[in-house]
């Protein structure tokens, strides 16, 4: 385990940023944090987490896919892909690290999405253990260990120091690159903090939330649950939950005519939107209830069914704090689980 005094954290950032682009949570003017590029003077946020998840860095909200030039009846397809640059994402919480696995199963399954894959291959993920989880956290529900986050490198921040441990080859390389700044250390301080945090985790209001009622093969059982009617009643049908969610990956592909060519781009889409499934001659999800159900069934039933039981929710709590009407997956799980 390597150790660095927090006083020197900016030296570390400077060293990392020298040959790789470094992204880390930074406070914005409204008080919330956002993953931003580090530059001299950038201050690492103390916030528990960002509003937008780090999925942005692999799967940006909008992304140009290709361009077309048209001339008369002819079309030219222009591949505008570029290999991603090497970059480091620093300070990723355990829940968000897990979200990358959820996204990987979609984008890296055949046929591989080259846009996502390129960024994924060039990224080093430095995770950060939690020490002050919020009441909206429920990562333990999905078997995520907030005090032992995964990622290429795991980090623990105490009041004075930050500790690093490599988990992968990429991680070893990363630690080697900052070896001069860090010193070898035992894990006493880290273990102490882990024990403290573990106690808090047990006391979280959502600590008792379980996935017992969910998982692959539960479609029939849950399909007609009254919860969908009841909880979707006042759903605004906005995309907040989807857009702040680290695991939501539905997208739309659209064309933009620039006047001198056409850009085909993709952007995030939301199953909560009424036109998500609208076709020229109909829509298979006509009411908000159906759309609402789709979102939760996808995360809690369909996705695990296709991915060996892995849920497509990581309990980060973003939707809990951001939904305009405070409706969220925890409430849905509580209600269905409680019906048992």
């Amino acid at each position: 385990m390597r150790k660095l005094s927090l006083e020197n954290i900016n030296k570390l950032f400077a060293a990392v940023a020298e040959d790789k682009t470094l992204y880390l949570p930074v406070d914005q003017s409204d008080g919330s944090a956002k993953y931003s590029k580090w530059a001299e003077g950038t201050v690492w946020s103390n916030a528990l987490n960002t509003v937008r998840s780090p999925k942005d860095l692999f799967f940006p909200q909008t992304e140009d896919l290709m361009e077309f030039k048209t001339e008369g009846k002819n079309i030219e397809v222009i591949d505008i892909r570029k290999e991603s640059e090497d970059f480091v994402i620093f300070g990723v919480r355990a829940c968000d690290v897990k979200s990358f696995e959820v996204l990987d199963r979609v984008f890296l399954s055949e046929p591989v999405d080259s846009y996502y894959a390129s960024r994924r291959e060039h990224a080093v993920i430095v995770s950060l253990a939690c020490s002050r989880p919020s009441e909206t956290c429920f990562c333990t529900t999905f078997g995520i260990d907030a005090i032992n986050p995964e990622g290429d490198v795991s980090a623990w921040k105490t009041a004075t120091d930050i500790y690093f441990k490599a988990n992968t080859e990429k991680g070893e390389e990363f630690l080697a690159s900052i070896e001069a700044l860090t010193e070898e250390s035992d894990d006493t301080a880290v273990n102490e903090q882990k024990a403290k945090t573990a106690d808090i985790m047990k006391k979280l209001p959502l600590a008792d939330l379980t996935t017992d009622s969910f998982g692959g093969g539960k479609t029939e059982e849950l399909w007609n649950n009254p919860v969908w009617d009841e909880f979707s009643q006042t759903c605004l049908g906005c995309g907040t939950c989807t857009f702040v969610c680290p695991t939501c990956q539905c997208y739309d592909i659209k064309d933009f005519d620039t006047g001198n060519g056409v850009i085909r781009y993709r952007c995030w889409d939301s199953c909560m939107y009424s036109e998500f499934t609208r076709m020229a001659h109909g829509n298979n999800r006509l009411t908000q209830k159906e759309r609402f159900r789709q979102r939760f069934m996808h995360k809690l039933v369909y996705y695990p069914e296709n991915n060996g039981g892995l849920f497509s929710c990581v309990g980060c709590g973003r939707c809990l704090s951001k939904c305009p009407i405070s409706m969220n997956i925890a409430k849905v799980m509580r209600k269905i689980g409680g019906d048992k």
């Binding site: 409204d30 919330s32 937008r52 009441e135 906005c238 702040v244 889409d269 939301s270 405070s326 509580r334």
Partner: protein
């Protein structure tokens, strides 16, 4: 003034439901942590008794729900309206968006609602909240019980409350208030006094956070188009994500413009924004301009009034003169 309590509202709701006046109740449903309250439709006494809450976090404006909820409804729906909600209620009636006959409106006096974001900035790990007369006592994960003054977490829209008068109701609970001479345009004036470069920087910073979740639009009681231009593939501007700063600006300019003269300044847009963009400052700019150029106008103050942007007088200011006016003010 005595605060309206949860029990009073429950009693009222149960009374109206059991005597058949209404068949459903639009109210607030409790959540996990006392502040995460969801609007809900209650149809039984039991549901109301178990789940109905009313506290400082019941900020959601119910007026817009009436558009959808009255459509297929048999009988009447009971809706609780805070003073600012009554303005939206009137505005929707002016625009014939729902059937007044299907609604039983109970207006409730309001002392202002709390802002969750403000509270969370003060207190970490909120487990539950006890509302006492002098302050809220927040039970937390880390700091035991923390006392938080109501004034410290009062929502911006409530600090600058424009009116505590209920302008529409079938029944009033508590005392009616008065229209307030608020300082709500001060922030707009502060921006107007800036140089264009400063203003541009200010709005770039704010709008660049927009993730186009459409929460502002979907929560807005004035945004009741059956199909929004930004959802219509034939409009040429449909998009689900702002591709660049132009699209961020366009969405918010057009949205604010479309509700100009109809916006009652209820503040829902800013409340629901997950990125804390002060969207109300766009709407208030229009309200301020309209007041100054075409005479004082409060959307929703009465049913049937003509919105300033679908009206004119022969002596209106020229667009160029509007700027000159601004210069004189600044």
């Amino acid at each position: 003034m005595q605060k309206i309590t949860r029990d009073q509202l429950i009693t009222k709701a149960v009374e109206l439901l059991s005597n058949g006046t209404v068949s459903a109740v639009l109210g607030w449903q409790k959540g996990e942590f006392d502040y995460d309250i969801t609007p809900a439709v209650f149809t039984t006494e039991e549901e109301i008794k178990n789940n109905f809450v009313y506290n400082d976090f019941c900020g959601a404006n119910f007026s817009k729900y009436l558009v959808a909820k009255t459509k297929k409804l048999e009988g009447k729906i009971l809706v609780f309206l805070k003073p600012c909600d009554t303005y939206s209620f009137n505005q929707l009636l002016t625009e014939h968006r729902f059937d007044r006959e299907k609604v039983y409106a109970v207006a409730i006096g309001c002392e202002g609602m709390a802002d969750v974001v403000k509270l969370k900035n003060k207190v970490d790990g909120i487990i539950s909240i006890d509302y006492k007369d002098d302050a809220m006592y927040v039970d937390t994960l880390y700091d035991g019980t923390v006392k938080v003054d109501y004034a410290d977490v009062l929502a911006e829209r409530c600090i600058n409350c424009k009116s505590k008068k209920c302008v529409a109701y079938d029944e009033l609970m508590g005392e009616d208030g008065e229209v307030i001479d608020s300082a709500r345009f001060d922030e707009v004036a502060r921006l107007e006094a800036m140089t264009p470069d400063e203003r541009f920087a200010f709005w770039q910073n704010e709008l660049s956070r927009c993730i186009r979740c459409n929460a502002c639009r979907d929560a807005c009681p004035a945004c009741t188009c059956e199909k929004c231009v930004f959802d219509n593939p034939n409009s040429g501007v449909e998009n689900k994500a702002p591709a660049n700063s132009f699209e961020e600006q366009m969405f918010h300019i057009i949205r604010a413009y479309h509700v100009a003269g109809r916006c009652t300044d209820c503040g829902e847009c800013s409340r629901v924004c997950p990125q804390n963009i002060p969207l109300h400052l766009l709407n208030r700019k229009f309200i301020k301009d309209i007041n100054e150029c075409y005479g004082e106008y409060q959307a929703g103050a009465e049913v049937g009034s003509r919105a300033p942007l679908v009206d004119y007088t022969e002596g209106d200011l020229e667009p160029g003169e509007v700027f000159e006016r601004g210069d004189n003010n600044a």
